[in-house]
Symmetry: D2
Subunit: 250 residues, 4 copies
């Protein structure tokens, strides 16, 4: 076998992405994507120094050339017949909370680029590698579980609040993408899932919120849930899960 079967994770920073990367790196070589290498370098290093195998690829998921370049780097590193056991879209456009009449067209476009265009291009780039993993070959290992494409959503994926027009429109759109792909590719053996992360995640960025730890979602629990989704057999796919702190009001 000259090529590898790997996991590709987009949106890897020091929080959910890192936890997901570590979890999947315990089973597969991984490729970790982020625009800014500073955000993935510590995770790549940590995985490689603890017996795993990781590469980081600076990628703008909303730019088709950048995404194509990413696939080439993946093939260069992991072989031309590389297959994908899991692809996880954990990136997002910037979070914006603003009165509607103060939103600019540029903000909407940026939200579209980060959440919708990005997830679209990421899916088009990874689905051929996920589909390849559904059939055995001599060049590349067959993964032990159905290949899995997971999208990270938010409260705003299912509830569009006042002042969230730019953010929620694109989170609804991302959820629609995940649902359409689940229906198209499930019968072809690829498991597509969407997670509604309904609450504040316990990452460095949210320390400032001053919430007690029990009111913040543990990124490792998200990673565990994604791993559970990945292990589901093709007779028993979950399309959507929600995750929130037990103390959360909802």
């Amino acid at each position: 076998m000259s090529s590898k079967t790997i996991a590709i994770i987009a949106g890897v920073g020091p929080g959910t992405g890192a936890a997901i990367a570590r979890k999947f790196a315990s089973a597969y070589p991984v490729a970790l994507l982020s625009r800014n290498p500073d955000t993935y370098i510590p995770i790549v290093d940590a995985i490689n120094s603890s017996g795993g195998k990781a590469i980081g690829i600076s990628t703008d998921v909303s730019d088709s050339k950048s995404v194509k370049g990413m696939v080439e780097k993946v093939k260069h590193e992991y072989g031309n017949d590389v297959k994908c056991a899991a692809a996880i879209f954990n990136a997002s456009g910037a979070f914006v909370r603003k009165p509607f009449l103060e939103l600019t067209e540029e903000v909407l476009d940026a939200s579209y680029a980060g959440s919708v265009k990005g997830s679209f291009l990421f899916s088009q780039a990874t689905l051929p590698l996920l589909l390849a993993a559904t059939t055995p070959s001599t060049s590349t290992p067959t993964p032990p579980h159905p290949p899995t494409l997971i999208f990270t959503g938010a409260t705003a994926s299912v509830k569009s609040s006042a002042l969230f027009a730019a953010f929620a429109t694109m989170k609804y759109a991302l959820r629609a993408l995940a649902q359409s792909l689940a229906r198209e590719f499930g019968p072809q053996g690829v498991h597509v899932a969407h997670a509604v992360i309904d609450g504040v995640i316990n990452v460095p960025r949210t320390q400032a919120y001053g919430l007690p730890a029990e009111a913040k979602i543990d990124p490792r629990a998200i990673a565990d849930a994604y791993w559970h989704l990945h292990t589901q057999p093709k007779t028993s796919f979950t399309w959507e899960i929600d995750i929130r702190p037990g103390v959360e009001k909802w």
Copy 2:
């Protein structure tokens, strides 16, 4: 009173838009928008020749300059203090049904432009005129009902089927926009609503489908429903209705 209180309808062709235009023209002067004047001219003429008042404005709702120009033409025709009793977004990106891996970035962008960018720019242009209609003034009549902003959705607004990735993502996004605006502007007196038109509409374009009339939604019934939404008092706003033929499977 030197200015008018009007209705603005985007997406006026020989079907739903025309029926809505006729309905609202029986109560207000109207401005009818479409990219191609050929689609609104017959309706403008019919309204003007039957005692109503209509103007058509060639507008690309996905282009902010075009939308700004539209507002200027509206003010030129109906007065600088023009108010909006109703604004209806009935436009849409092109309908696309295709395997996901055959979709191009251009198709996604066009769907975004037509459905999301268009509804965003239309809302930003009309909301100031709708808000103006919530308070009496000496220059312009106060409408008899709360000013109303309505968005036309589809089955794909709430169900994202296989092969509908480009279309449904943007319909979900449109619905999110409508919901966020309802929550932000309802307390300010503007009624924002979303209609899930769940079926084939009985318009010239769908004659070729060969369906019996009873299996196709009557555009006049959509117009009647929108008019009913418009007449609801501010204590009793509907955010969402669905409309489908009685014989429809759903």
Copy 3:
């Protein structure tokens, strides 16, 4: 024509039921149902003295004998071939808000009886009369609009909050009944609809809440919405609407 085409309304007290009764009485003779005659007598009198035609029938909708007796009284009054243009289920089990472990089995049973058993028996009693109205006959007038069966729901029909276990379970169940009946009887020409009344209604009972009028739903607006649903042609049925004050948080 020896028989009448009427409207039957269950749950007629001095609020929503009364407003609905008055609205439909302007078009049809009506039969108004309530357990306690004191609640319908003033409305029956008001309708009869203003040129309409109403009878009140003391009915326990959760008791099949009582419901059968009601149908017999309706036939005795309006003719053996009586048809139903509209049937509206506006009754409800008692509202209960309590910690789950303090709920008794009796409370759950009462909620089931009032909301689920009641709507079930009411639907079984009225659907034959609604179906009869879909076809012309010599004995009884054909209604001008498709016969319509409407159920009044609440916020708890779509959101099951803490402490609402007894109330929300039965409101969810009522909504399921409405949806199943819409799918079964829509193709047969009967329009079945469900209304999510999402807020406090402006009725005598809620005066004590101290809310401003603009924060309370106008029962006449509910009646107008139900009437609009009734007027929809069979090509264009709405299954569900929501109604809430513009100022409501949701």
Copy 4:
């Protein structure tokens, strides 16, 4: 420690219930409930002979006396200070698919008893034992994961089809119960979840359907998903998952 921390599973037959029982028996002593002992005896025997600990208790979950007797038997076997690490409601009223006007009141009552009354009484009986497990004590072990109450739902929990009026009303009601309890008891440390099992399960009873294995949900995958839910920390609770075959149309 004189008492045990156990799992209680209601609705244990030769399918999903058995798979759940085996899974949780690998971590906890279990009590398996079914009306007919014949359905749990083989599973109880299998667990006990392979190193686990199980008792079967003949229980009618819709009868409060029977449920109270069940709790006494549990305490007699596992100690007066028995705690519950997991309680799983996998029972159901009979599946009925029938034209609405052919349904009898008795069918509705039976569906209510099996799905709603049963889940209500089961929750009232087990929640005190689940709550007890949230705090350490000297008498009984503290479970390694937050105590968990899971309800098994179906397609009809979220879609009420024609001819499913009796079945879907009660599945909607069960889902509402699960949602209300999640909101009330999550903040108290008990994880409440609901599973939408959207498809035919691969159990002896469905062999006759003639479906290929890949079109039927594997009961062990349901058990694995329930176990995953049970292992989630209290910062990261899932309320709802759906499970269906990859090839399923939905």
